[in-house]
Symmetry: C2
Subunit: 298 residues, 2 copies
């Protein structure tokens, strides 16, 4: 492993732990009544996961400011929202997936009824966590709640998921593919970057630059995800592979072919890195993250 | 129909329409992309329903203040949250109910996948509606979001639902029955009363009195609900009857017997009405509502 990789890995681990502590402190104890719901929630939430979205929020913020504490619970809220989508997506009526983050999916271990409620609860806690982030200005907390609800709702995650469901087994256009991925994945990768900027109260120019950055790595992330569904292994990915192509899901390799998809990911990553140039050394970790998103095997 | 009943009916209808307008204005149009999700959401939301929770909020507020406009979107948000629980509860993995508010349940018409997402979306919109209630002070909006998330989460609705699921087919104690109903129904009847007080900025004494009122009518409402599951008809109730006893669900008649349950409901309603005495004429509509909750056939 290169030195750069080791530095990134260490930093990912450190910040992941800080976010995990913030989430753990915020959520009800595992042995609180009714126990099964907390076990189910914590099972998927702490099953692993890269904490990519919190990491993006924290590192965007730290391009401009130093006090990391302010970011942790807001970053944790985005992870809770992300985990709610995973639990509900894995349910039998949607993707019927048995594995998640290398472990049995929530509904496989706890039953579909409890998994449904665990997802609902995580969605509720995401909003509660933001509303309870005392370090953040009240007006900003309300803005976060509004933006989170917009990206999670019918112009974001829900929309992407709807069109994904309706497209299964059909031949889809490039536009539909982009629509699904922008909404299902892209917006929740871009959101923590926007939140990081808002928390740091950056000038509009930086906000725009960083949102542009977020769009590029969000799309690159999804393309690599689709490629890994073909070339990866269940063991390293922690979820069932080959499932998307079997289910005739909308993927980049299905629409553009494998080689073209790889070129697209590379181009996006290069462009994303260029956008970080004004931040010099401060952007080093985000630059490493770009390479990681590009070359990851999981 | 008595004059009192007609007055109440007219007032319920008028305020229901105001709340429906507020919800309709807030939600995305029916023909917005992706259409199916908005159709599914609006199907259950506007399938009927008494709008009891919004009515409680508005009428509690109007014991103390006159400007109804301030209450409408917050009241609508509680109705959205309530409807999310109905859609998810009706899903095959929980209650597997075919009818709701006199119409086919959401998942029966739109499929379980879309119904799941429609429920998620309504939960998201409930928080968004409160965050967007510009007439309400920012601090108060955050308090509403926190309280709504607490009552919806593991110490409220989710808890009640969890224990309800785990109790099915078992002989349950009086304590468990009360726990389930307090959390599954009571808290979301009490919450709009609390919100009404908070919006009107009432003294602590009134807040406590009205919360006490809310607890009593919340419990009475649930007992009558259980009695109607035995004595009511599917036609007037708009949902499948006899289902609770068939599924050996936790109900008051099952634990206390039918006669004793009726006596309990009567006692609670009488006590609730006494609590309204200090408000004189201003409380007339809430007094009528108490009688309605007691004698309703649907």
């Amino acid at each position: 492993m290169s030195t750069k990789n080791m530095v990134l890995k260490k930093d990912l681990k450190e910040k992941r732990e800080l976010v995990n502590i913030a989430i753990d402190r915020f959520l009800p104890r595992k042995d609180e009544y009714p126990k099964q719901i907390h076990k189910a929630i914590r099972h998927t939430l702490f099953a692993g996961g890269k904490r990519l979205r919190p990491y993006l929020l924290i590192n965007t913020y730290m391009l401009f400011k130093d006090d990391i504490d302010k970011t942790l619970l807001v970053a944790g809220a985005i992870e809770m929202l992300h985990t709610y989508t995973l639990i509900h997506d894995d349910l039998p009526e949607i993707d019927d997936d048995e594995y998640r983050r290398g472990k049995k999916a929530c509904h496989v271990l706890f039953g579909s009824d409890i998994a449904l409620l665990a997802g609902d609860a995580l969605l509720i806690y995401a909003f509660q966590a933001i509303a309870s982030s005392e370090e953040v200005d009240e007006k900003l907390r309300l803005d976060f709640i509004k933006e989170l609800s917009i990206e999670a709702g019918h112009t974001g995650l829900i929309a992407g998921q709807m069109i994904d469901i309706q497209s299964e087994g059909k031949k889809i256009s490039k536009e539909t593919l982009e629509y699904i991925h922008t909404n299902k994945t892209g917006k929740l990768i871009n959101l923590p970057i926007r939140f990081g900027c808002m928390l740091a109260e950056v000038p509009e120019e930086d906000q725009k630059r960083m949102e542009n950055f977020g769009q590029k790595i969000g799309l690159a992330f999804q393309i690599v995800d689709d490629i890994l569904d073909i070339e990866g292994s269940t063991e390293t990915l922690g979820k069932t592979i080959g499932k998307d192509s079997k289910a005739k899901k909308a993927t980049f390799p299905a629409v553009y072919g494998l080689e073209k998809s790889k070129q697209m990911a590379e181009k996006l990553i290069t462009e994303a890195k260029v956008l970080l140039e004004p931040y010099g050394e401060k952007a080093e970790l985000l630059l490493m993250l770009c390479d990681f998103i590009h070359t990851r095997k999981f």
